[in-house]
Amino acid sequence: MKPQEPIPHNYRMSTLNKVFALSSLALLALVGAMVMYDYARGWKRFQLEFLRVQRDRITQQLEVARRATGEEQLRALDQRMREGEADIARKRAELREAEDTVREWEGRHYRADQDFRFAKAVLDSLRYEAEVLALRKARGWEGKQQEFREQETRVERLKLVLEDVSASRDAALARRDGILSRIAEIEREKKDLLADVELLEKQLATVDFKRPEFLLLNMPLLDFVSPTLKVEQVVLNDMFVDMNYMVVPRVDRCMTCHKGIDRPGFESREEAQRLIAELEGKLDGFQIAPDRIADTMARIEQLRPIAEARRNLRNPYRTHPRLDMFVGSASPHPLLEYGCTSCHRGLDRATDFARAGHTPSSEEQQKRWEEHYGWKRQPFLESPMHPRQYFEASCIKCHSGEVRVDEADRISEGTQMIELYGCAGCHKIDNWRFQDLRKPGPDLRGIAEKTSPEWTVRWLTNPKDFRATTRMPSFFYLRNMVGPHIGPAERESNEKKQNAEIQAIVAYLFANSTRRGWPEGPSGDPARGAALVDTVGCYGCHVAQETVTDSAGAVRTANRDDFPLERNYGFNLVGTGTKTRSDWLFHWLKNPRNYYQQAPMPDLRLTDQEAADITAWLMSLRKPDFMNMPVAPADRAALSELSRSYMITSMTERETDARLASMTSQQQLVFLGQRTIEKYGCFGCHDIKGFEDAKPIGTELTIEGSKNIHLFDFGFVHDFETESGEHEHVLHTVPSWIYAKVRSPRVFDDQRERGYHDKLKMPNFFFTRNEAEAVTGVVLGLTKDRVAPERIAARTSEARVAQEGRKLVSQNNCRACHVVDGHGGAIAQTVEDPGMLPPDLGPEGSRVQSDWLFAFLKDPTVMALRPWLGARMPTFHFSDGEADKITRYFAADANVPTFETDDGISPHPQSAAVGGIVFDMLRCAQCHPTQAVAATAEADLASLAPNLQLSRERLRHDWVPDWILRPNEIVPGTRMPTNFPRNAETGEYESPLTLAIGSPQFASYRQALLQHFRSEEEMLQALADAPRISHHLRDYIWTIGIRSMPPARDPVEEPPPYTPETPPPAPAPGVQSTSLRVPGGETPGR
C-alpha cells in the first residue's frame, strides 16, 4: 500500500506553545494574586500597627526599668558570685562525692517508688476481682481474698521501703545543696533584682513581629495552622441580633482592630490628662478605698507619660475612654458580657472598616475616612452605629426600667423632656417609663372658670407671643401652612382656615366648660404677695421674668433653656393677670385640687390672707398689649368649607349642604371645634370634655429606633432653615430624620403638594439644638433589640417599687427645690443665702428613718425641722402607696433597709455622758437647738441647724456618727463644719480635742471628762479617736431626743364637688364676645 502523505497541522505549534506558556504563567500569577487577595485583610494591618505601638510602649518602660535597677548592686552580686564559685572550687572533691550519692539515691528512689505504685495498681485490680467473685459466690473467692490480703501486706512493706529511701535521698540532696547554697541564694537575689526587667523583656519578645516564627506562622497559606494575626471575637449570649427569622447572639469582632480597647495604657493624650485630673481629684477627696490607693497611684504613673507624650495615639488603637464604666473587666459592663455593638450598634461580625457600619460624626471625619479607609455608606446595613452625639441612646435597651440612667445625662434629660412635653400623649410609647404619666397640660373642662375666650384665641394663635418660655407647642400658622413654600393664594386661604380652626376649638372648649362660681377671696397686698412668692418657694417650679441679661450684659427675651428644666415645670408667672380670673386664682392657690384632682401644683398651705396677697401680686402681672393683638373673626367660607370637609366623609354632598344650612355658625364652630381637637389630638395633654377615652393620634414610637430607613418620608428636604433661623442639614439617616422632625416637625412638607388636612399635624415645640438632640437620642433608643432578662436593669420587685418612687420624685418635680441623686436644686438660682436652701436629699435614704420620711411626706407639718426656712415643703397629698414608694426609693438609693431595728433605744449612759461633754466642747449647741426654738428677732434663724431633739425619731442610728465625721464629703457645701479634718497623707481623721483639752478655758471639761475614764492617757486616747468621739456624740443626741412623733394628719379641706356636667349656658360667652362674632352668623337664643 502507498505511504500516507503527511497531514498538515491546522495551527502553528510554536504559536500554540507560546500561547500556552503565556496563559499558564498568567494563570499562575492570578492564583498567587487570589491568595494574596484573600490574605490581605485590612484588620491585619491594624494588628501589625498595634504590635508596633506595644513594642514602643514596652521599650520605653524597659528603659525606665533598666535605669531603676541599680548597676552597682548588680556588680556587687557578680562579685559575691565569683567568690562563691571560688569557694566551691575549693571543695570540689566533697561536692563531687555528694553529687554521686545524690545520683545513686535518686536511682534507688525511682525504683522503690515504681515498685510501690505498681504493687498498688495490682492491689486495686485484685480487690475488684475478689469483690466480683464474692458477689457471684463463685468458687475460689476465698482464694482470691487471700491473695488480696497478701498483696495488701506487700504494699505496706514497699511503702516503708520507699519512705526510707526517700529519707536518705533527701539527706543527700540537702548535703549537696548545702555546699551550693551560697550561689543559689545569690542567684535568687539577682533574679528578684531583675524581675520586672525580665518580665518586660518577655513581653517585648511576644510583640516582636520580626522574629522568624512570627513570620512563619503568619505566612500566606501557612497561616491556617495557628496564626498570631487572627480575627478575635466575643460571643455575647445575652445580647441578641434580630435576623428577622431568628434571634441570634451577638458575636463582636470589633476588638480584632480595636485591640487596645480593653487595655489601660493606650489612651489618647487628652483622655490621659482628663483621667489623671479625675483620679488625683478622687485621691484628694479620699474617695478611693485605702487598699486601692496604691493601684490608683500606679495608674496615674502609667498615664503620665501618655499625657505628656509627643505623639498622640489615634483610633483604632486607643483604650476605651470610660474603662471604669464600660469594657473594663471590673466595670459594670465588661467586654465579655456586653461587647461593643450592643451599645454602639453596627455590624457585629464585620471585620472590615466600611462594612462594620462606622458612622462619621462630622463631614471632615467622613472625608478622612473616605480617603483613608475607603469608607462609604452601607445601603444594606440596617443598624449603622449611632453618631457620637447619640451614643447614649443604647442605654435604654437595658435601662428602660429606670427613671434616670446615671452617667447618661443626655438620655435622662431627653426622657424627662418627653415626659414634660407630653410626647407620650400623642405617641404611644409602650415602655414603663412613659406609661401612666400625668397629662402635662392643664385641665380644660373648667376653662371658662379660669380665663376668657378672647385670651384663649390669642393664646392658641401663638402661645410664644404670650410666653416665650411656654411648653405649649404651636399648632397654627406654621411653615407648611403659611411658610415661604406656600403660594400667596393658598397661604391666604390657609390663614383663614387656621383662624377658623382656632375659633372653633375655643368655641367648643367654652361650650363644654363647667361654670362653678368661685367666691372672691379677701383683698390682698401685692407687695406682701411678691415677698411671699419669693420666700415660700414658688420659684422652684415657676419663673417670673421675661428677659434675661446674658453674659455680655445685653438684655434679651428669655427662652426655656435659660432656666433649668425644673423651673419650666410650672408656667411663667408673667401675664397671669391678663390670663386668669382673680376669684379662680385665689382658690387655685389655696389648694389646686379644688379645681383639678390631678393638679401638678402642690398645696403650699397658704392662709387666706397669704393666698389673697399672692393673688393680688399675680393679678398685677399683666400683658395688656397681648390682648390688643388683633384677631379676625372666623371666616364664614373657611368655616363651612372645613365643616363640610369633615361631614363629607360620612355624608353625600347634598346631605352635607343640607346639614350645613341647618346649622347656626355657632353650632358649626362647636362642631368644627370638636373635629379639630380630634385632628390635633389636644386631649393628649389636656383633659377635655368628650375626649375622655380618645386614642392618641401620633405614630407609635415603641420601636422607632429600629424602624427601617425606607419607612421614613424624607420628602424633598436636604437643607432647611429652622423657625429660629438656624441652618440644618438632613442626611439620609434615621437619626438625622428624627432630629429634623423634632427640630422642625413640619419641615418634611416643604415643597410638597398636599391637601389641607393631609399636611403634617405635629405641633412645633421650638426645641433648641440641644433639646432636639436629647429627645432624638431617646427616640433612637426605643428599639426592638432584645437582651436576656437578667441584663435588664432594676428588674427585681424591690427595685421596681423604688423606680416607681423615683418616677414620682421626677413627676412631682422634687428636684425643683431639692438635690436628688446629684441633680436639681433649681431654686438655688433665686436664693442668695445658701443657708436658706431646702435640704440636699443626696443621702436622704441613709440619713432618715423610713417611717419618719413616710409620715413627713404625708404631712410635712408633722415636724418643724428647719423653722428658719422660708421655702415650705408643700403638701402633695400623697396616697399611702405613693408615700411608700418614695420612701422605698430613697432607702433603695442608699441601699439600706426600709425598716429599722430599735438601735440605740438605750445608749450606754457613760458613753452618752462623754458625748455630752464633747458636745459642749465643740459648741454644737451654738447652731443645733436642743429644745424648741422661739423665733425671736434676737435669735438669727438663718444660722441655725436642725433641732437635735428630733434626731432620734428622724435620723438613722448608724448615720449620725458618719455624718459628724465627714459632713462635707456626704453633702458637699453643707453648712455643717468639718470638725475632724482628715490627715492629707493617711486620710485618718484628726481630732482637735486633744489640742483643745490642754488649753486653759477647757479645764472644767477636762475635770468632767476625767471622771469617765480610768486614766488621763485613756481619756486623751479616747479624745484623739475621732470615730469613737462621733459615737459618743450620737449616744448623747439620742438621750436628748423626743421619744415619739406626732401622728401625720392630712390637712386637706374637702374640695367643692367637681361638677363637669353643668350644661353650657347658651349662648356660650365665647360667642357673645366681639372677637368671636361670626359674620352673618345668628347666635341661637337671640
Partner: protein, 407 residues
C-alpha cells in the same frame, strides 16, 4: 446629548423596541432570502409597513420614531446587501455598538444598572448573541449562495481533509480551558457579589427580580395570568423544545449552515429565542425598575414613579364601551366573546392546513402539523397579547375571576 438619550429612552419603551425588533427581524429573515432587495413585492410590503407606521406616528407619536428607526434599518441593510457578512462590516458594527455602550457608561443612571455585578454577564450576553447570530447567518448566507450556484457548502469541502486529535483538537481545548479559568478568576475578584442585609419577610426589595434566566418569564407575567405565564407556557416551552426534532424532519442543513433550505424552522426558532426569550430577559434586567415599572436605559430608577393603570378586559370593551350596557352577571355570557375568540384561535390549525400552510400539511402529515402549528400559535400568542396590551390596554381576553381563570 439629552435629546439622543431621550430618544433612546423612548425607543427602548417595551412596545416600541419589541415591535421594532420584530419588524427588523422579519426583514433580516427576508434579507437572507432575497438579499434585502426592496424592489421585489415582499420588499415593497416591508417598505409600506415602515411608511404606514411612520404615518401612524401622527396619531400616536412614538410610532413615528418607530417607523423612522425601522425604515433606517431597512435602508441600511438594503444598502449593505451581502457586504453585511463581510468581517470588516461586522467588526465596524461591533465596534460602534461597543463604543456606544462605553459612551453610555458615562451616564450615571445607565452606569448604575449596567455596572451592577449581577448585570454584567447579561450585558456581555447581548453582544455574544448578536455576534453568534451574525456569524451563523453569515455562513448560512454564503453557503446558500454556493448551493444556489450549484456548488457545495464549505463545510463539505473542509470535512474531507483529516486532522490530528492531538494537538489540533485537545491542545486548543486545553488552552481555552486555561484562558476561561483566568477570565473567571479575574471576574470573581473584580466583581464579587455584594453582601446585602439579612432577609426580612416584612421588607421585600424593590424591584424584586427573578434570577436573570427567568426574567423572561417574569416579564411574561405582566401580560398573562400567573398560571398561564408561570405554569402553562413554561411547560409548553420545554415540551416544545423536546418536540422539535420530531416535528422538524427536514434532513437538509445537517452539518452545515444553511438558511434557505430551512427558512421556516430557523426563522421560527430564532424569533422565539431572540425576540421572545432573550429580548424579554434583557428588558427585565435593564429596563424594569422599582415597582416593575418601565425605565429607559438613561432614566433614573425613581421608586416614586407612577404610571396609570387603565387596563380593561375584553368583556368591558365590548359590553360597556361598545354596547353601553352593564356587564352581564353570568360569566359565560359576559365572557362569550373572549371565549369565542380564544376558541377560534385554537381552532386555527385545521384552517391553516387548508389554506396558507397547505404545503406544510402535506409535507409533514397531520399529527406533526397539528402539534407544530399548535406550538407555533402558542408562541405567537405572547407577541399578540403584548401588542393587544399596548394598543388597546387590553388586560384579559377572558376574565373569569369566579374560577380564577383568565386568558
Amino acid at each position: 446629548m439629552e435629546t439622543i438619550k431621550n430618544l433612546v429612552n423612548l425607543l427602548s419603551g417595551a412596545a416600541i423596541s419589541f415591535l421594532l425588533l420584530s419588524f427588523v427581524f422579519g426583514f433580516v429573515v427576508y434579507f437572507n432570502l432575497m438579499d434585502g432587495n426592496l424592489r421585489t413585492r415582499v420588499g415593497k410590503i416591508f417598505l409600506i409597513i415602515g411608511v404606514l407606521t411612520t404615518l401612524a406616528g401622527f396619531i400616536f407619536a412614538p410610532l413615528f420614531f418607530l417607523g423612522l428607526a425601522y425604515l433606517a434599518c431597512l435602508f441600511l441593510l438594503a444598502h449593505l446587501g451581502p457586504k453585511l457578512w463581510d468581517p470588516k462590516v461586522g467588526l465596524i458594527i461591533l465596534v460602534t455598538s461597543l463604543v456606544g455602550f462605553a459612551l453610555s457608561m458615562f451616564d450615571r443612571d445607565f452606569f448604575l444598572i449596567a455596572a451592577k455585578p449581577d448585570n454584567v454577564p447579561i450585558a456581555a450576553m447581548i453582544f455574544l448573541l448578536g455576534f453568534f447570530t451574525w456569524v451563523a447567518l453569515g455562513k448560512a448566507y454564503k453557503n446558500d449562495q454556493q448551493i444556489a450556484s450549484g456548488g457545495v457548502p464549505w463545510e463539505k469541502t473542509e470535512s474531507d481533509e483529516k486532522l490530528f486529535t492531538w494537538p489540533d483538537l485537545v491542545y486548543t481545548e486545553l488552552l481555552c480551558m486555561i484562558l476561561i479559568t483566568v477570565l473567571m478568576i479575574i471576574w470573581s475578584m473584580a466583581l464579587p457579589a455584594p453582601l446585602e442585609e439579612p432577609a426580612n419577610p416584612t421588607t421585600s426589595p424593590n424591584p424584586a427580580k427573578a434570577p436573570w434566566y427567568f426574567l423572561g418569564l417574569q416579564e411574561m407575567l405582566v401580560y398573562f395570568d400567573p398560571w398561564l405565564a408561570g405554569v402553562f407556557l413554561p411547560t409548553l416551552i420545554v415540551v416544545g423544545l423536546m418536540a422539535i426534532p420530531y416535528i422538524d424532519t427536514n434532513p437538509k442543513g445537517n452539518g452545515y449552515y444553511s438558511f434557505r433550505e430551512r427558512k421556516w424552522e430557523i426563522g421560527v426558532f430564532l424569533y422565539g429565542f431572540l425576540v421572545l426569550w432573550s429580548f424579554l430577559i434583557i428588558t427585565g434586567t435593564f429596563l424594569r425598575g422599582p415597582n416593575w415599572n418601565f425605565f429607559g436605559p438613561f432614566e433614573y430608577w425613581d421608586p416614586n414613579k407612577l404610571v396609570p393603570l387603565v387596563n380593561v378586559n375584553l368583556s368591558e370593551l365590548i359590553w360597556v364601551k361598545l354596547f353601553g350596557v352593564a356587564l352581564p352577571e353570568f360569566w359565560l355570557v359576559r365572557e362569550i366573546f373572549g371565549i369565542a375568540l380564544v376558541l377560534g384561535y385554537v381552532a386555527l390549525p385545521p384552517l391553516m392546513a387548508r389554506t396558507v400552510f397547505r404545503r406544510f400539511y402535506l409535507k409533514m402529515g397531520p399529527p406533526r402539523f397539528y402539534v407544530g402549528a399548535m406550538l407555533f400559535l402558542m408562541m405567537l400568542s405572547l407577541p399578540i397579547k403584548m401588542a393587544l396590551r399596548w394598543l388597546f390596554n387590553l388586560k384579559y381576553l377572558v376574565a373569569i375571576q369566579e374560577y380564577f381563570f383568565n386568558i
